[in-house]
């Protein structure tokens, strides 16, 4: 009896000490270490991440995404396709020729007459310049190459063209972002504009910024594309997702890149 009462008392104490239930990761906007991850009112997902997760991203030797970067580097100089070329045949050293591309996609492609993202640009080079088969969306080689190319732009501010021929994509992306969907009847903006900094159970909502993609997610135990994340954010609210690489997700990606403008590319990021 006494033991039971003691246990209850301890339990009550534990519950009392645990509230508020969440201990948010430390974030001080004046901390110089955070400056790289803030632009005006915009905050990278990094600033919402746990210190251990940040540490994994900070150190290229600890960052598990570097495995894919290594694969991408190998593929860069691998000859494939009927033209007998590798990426390096035309683009030379990625560290010299790909220093900004990752910050400017999605981008209108005059030849294709549509907005393409980095994954699709890489596949265009494969099918048209190399005479090689396109890589499937979310396949290992496409993830590896996208991450390798985008990482060359690390530290470059995100900046995309959203007017001119890109305008229809931008408008469609913005509409998507504010449109309620799914059985839960919510829009992206409800979580990432109206309620960032608050918690859905333990989950601390960030501003949903995209400057770190492709990202290594601890939950996935692997690297994943932005479109995979979008589909996940759709499925969680019981909405029918769109195919990865679809018009809808490329348009949304352009809108999200515009939202993230000014933040620095931090690919490959690590997130929970």
């Amino acid at each position: 009896m006494r033991a039971a009462r003691t246990i209850l008392a301890v339990l009550a104490l534990v519950l009392a000490v645990r509230s508020p239930a969440w201990a948010d990761p430390p974030f001080d906007p004046k901390d110089p270490a955070m400056a790289k991850y803030i632009s005006g009112d915009k905050r990278s997902g990094y600033t919402f991440a746990e210190p251990e997760t940040r540490a994994m991203q900070d150190d290229d030797f600890m960052n598990p995404a570097m495995l894919w970067v290594g694969k991408g580097e190998t593929l860069w100089s691998t000859v494939e396709g009927s033209a007998g070329k590798s990426c390096a045949s035309c683009h030379g050293k990625a560290e010299e020729t790909m220093t900004t591309a990752g910050a400017h996609y999605p981008k209108y492609d005059a030849g294709e007459r549509k907005v393409v993202n980095l994954e699709q640009r890489i596949n265009l080079c494969r099918s048209q310049a190399m005479g090689a088969a396109e890589w499937k969306y979310e396949s290992e080689p496409l993830l590896a190459m996208t991450t390798y190319v985008k990482m060359q732009s690390r530290g470059v501010p995100v900046s995309v063209v959203v007017d001119g021929p890109a305008a229809p994509w931008f408008d469609a992306g913005r509409r998507f972002y504010y449109e309620r969907r799914g059985l839960n009847d919510v829009a992206c903006a409800h979580c990432h504009v109206d309620h960032w900094g608050q918690h859905i159970r333990t989950e601390l909502l960030s501003q949903g910024m995209t400057n770190g993609f492709p990202t290594y997610r601890l939950k996935w135990q692997k690297l994943g594309s932005l479109h995979r994340r979008m589909a996940g954010c759709n499925e969680e609210i019981r909405a029918e997702p769109y195919p990865l690489g679809s018009f809808e997700y490329v348009a949304l990606e352009l809108y999200l890149a515009w939202r993230a403008q000014g933040l620095l590319v931090e690919t490959p990021s690590v997130r929970k």
């Binding site: 969907r181 059985l183 839960n184 608050q198 918690h199 859905i200 159970r201 499925e235 029918e240």
Partner: protein, 130 residues
């Protein structure tokens, strides 16, 4: 005459409209079952703090509901749960008894998050929170 899908749809809509009135307040509910629905199907703890200590990490998107029964009556609570957009068009809170939503996942099409009885049960539970 067999009911066509369209007729069934029209009937369902008419019933939903009719039910959003004070009729909800009349429907008997069970507070014990309501508490279960609040934790489970309703997933209200995602966004609200409630006096349910065995569940950890209540969200803080919406207001604390620990004493909501002293603030709101059955009709208001039912309206809030059935379709909160009638109260605040911009709210993040789901409509728990509404169909005709945009791009619902295939497995959930035509369904509502809570049944009519669930809504009455949840209202009965919330009314005990004073």
């Amino acid at each position: 005459m067999p009911a066509t899908p369209w007729m069934r749809h029209a009937m369902a809509c008419a019933m939903l409209v009719a039910w959003t009135a004070a009729a909800w307040a009349e429907m008997p509910g069970d507070a014990g079952r309501g508490r279960v629905a609040v934790i489970g199907k309703g997933n209200c703890l995602a966004c609200h703090h409630l006096p349910i200590p065995e569940e950890p990490d209540h969200g803080d998107i919406g207001p604390d509901l620990s004493t909501v029964g002293s603030r709101l009556g059955a009709t208001e609570l039912a309206a809030r749960i059935v379709d909160p957009k009638t109260i605040n068009p911009d709210t993040i809170m789901p409509s728990f008894f509404k169909t005709d939503l945009h791009r619902v996942a295939k497995d959930w099409q035509g369904q509502t998050i809570l049944t009519r009885q669930d809504v009455a049960d949840v209202v009965a539970y919330l009314l005990t929170l004073k």
